[in-house]
């Protein structure tokens, strides 16, 4: 599959269909994101699904793609993308961080093992060009056991888990969707600065709520967490609730706007209004 992708990318670059390709490069035994500009460089291109997403927004508070698009308007960028990469691109485009029209997604599918490791619900992109689709893992599995316990147990569980937090901001920094220039989690009004652990549950509550309609389930936050807090139990639960209440899933359709952001619907949540 790697050779196929290399050949495809070389063709695209030499025929000038696209100007640059954003992917992973191996050099001296290390793999890092790289912007390929010449077809000759593409021999060192690596295609692997085990490396993290390369669209994180920190520390510049912008993704590399939005910086590129701002500096070189009209630049056609090819991006080698897995399922999660593509969802991140779609969601970034919805938030007007990048222009999806100028981005060519070169999609490849992850294998079953990788999908299981990431607990990925959709381990293939919509623009699938290489590899074969494997079925994703149902989202419910991640939070079923937690939601089956009583409220008291859940509170204790989260109190124990979230008290481990060392406020390293790893979850936010690794997140492809956290592009806010002014992060609530840094403001002393909401979180006491210079104090550990952060107040339960305010600190994480901010992120959980902000991610409810944006989370694309790439799992980078949980992988980045040095204290192994099972953050995805809640992000997955909220994602399933968004689907249940609003019929909305982030990262799948570039035309579908987040229901939290718009108030243009005449009579929102008709069935839900009786419940409250």
């Amino acid at each position: 599959m790697e050779d196929e992708i290399r050949r495809h990318c070389k063709g695209l670059l030499s025929e000038k269909k696209i100007d640059v390709i954003w992917g992973l490069r191996e050099k001296d035994g290390f793999v890092a994101p790289y912007l390929f500009q010449n077809p000759e460089e593409l021999d060192s291109l690596v295609v692997s699904s085990k490396y993290p997403l390369s669209f994180t927004c920190r520390p510049s508070k912008e993704t590399i793609l939005s910086i590129l698009q701002k500096k070189k308007p009209g630049l056609k960028i090819g991006v080698i993308a897995r399922g999660c990469d593509e969802r991140a691109l779609i969601e970034l485009a919805k938030s007007e961080q990048i222009n999806l029209d100028l981005i060519e997604i070169i999609g490849f599918a992850c294998d079953r093992e990788q999908a299981q490791e990431c607990v990925c619900f959709k381990p293939f992109p919509q623009n699938l060009k290489f590899g074969t689709k494997v079925e994703g893992i149902a989202e419910e599995k991640a939070f079923q056991d937690l939601m089956a316990t009583e409220l008291k147990g859940r509170l204790k569980f989260w109190h124990d888990q979230l008290s481990k937090c060392i406020k390293c901001y790893g979850c936010r920094n690794a997140c492809p969707m956290c592009f806010c220039k002014d992060c609530r989690m840094e403001q002393s009004v909401y979180t006491e600065t210079g104090w550990l652990p952060p107040e339960f549950p305010l600190f994480q509550f901010v992120r959980f709520y902000h991610m409810a309609d944006r989370c694309i389930e790439c799992g980078e936050c949980e992988k980045a967490c040095p204290m192994d807090i099972p953050l995805r139990k809640i992000t997955k639960y909220l994602r399933s609730k968004m689907k249940e209440i609003f019929g909305y899933q982030a990262g799948l359709d570039p035309k579908q706007k987040s229901p939290i952001l718009t108030t243009l619907d005449e009579d929102p949540l008709k069935e839900f209004q009786d419940e409250i």
């Binding site: 937690l146 409220l151 549950p201 909220l238 409250i276």
Partner: protein
């Protein structure tokens, strides 16, 4: 303990509807439980989820949000976002182990003074049943 438990409730009331309704209930001398500490907001849509969790964290046993009926909002669609926000905050509270019945959103218009006292009495009874907020002092 359970019998003499007097809950503390923080009420975020919209300036244009529910706050006026609370005023009306007072003027009409309608009885309602004195457990509610009212905070007047310009719109129920101005109630950030952070206010809700902060109130619960700092010891409130319940949070009440009162706004105009859908379609009557002084700012056209302010209460739409309140509704959508509460719809997401409730499952989030549940997932963290806090009973979502501690948060209540109600549409009460300026002329519904009796409705206001009725709803608050109901809510206070509900919180009394649920007991003190487990988040207090954690």
């Amino acid at each position: 303990m359970a019998n003499n438990f007097e809950p503390q409730i923080v009420g975020f009331l919209c300036n244009w509807c529910t706050y006026v309704a609370a005023d009306l209930a007072g003027v009409a001398r309608l009885q309602y439980p004195p457990n509610v500490r009212v905070i007047r907001m310009m719109c129920s849509g101005a109630v950030s989820p952070l206010y809700i969790i902060s109130a619960l964290k700092k010891g409130a046993d319940g949070v009440f949000i009162g706004g105009c009926h859908i379609g009557d909002c002084h700012y056209q669609r302010g209460n739409h976002s309140t509704l959508k926000r509460v719809a997401i905050v409730k499952p989030l509270l549940e997932a963290l182990g806090i009973d979502s019945r501690r948060l209540r959103l109600e549409w009460i218009s300026a002329s519904e003074g009796p409705q206001f006292s009725k709803v608050l009495a109901e809510f206070v009874d509900q919180i009394k049943e649920l007991g003190p907020n487990p988040l207090k002092g954690t």
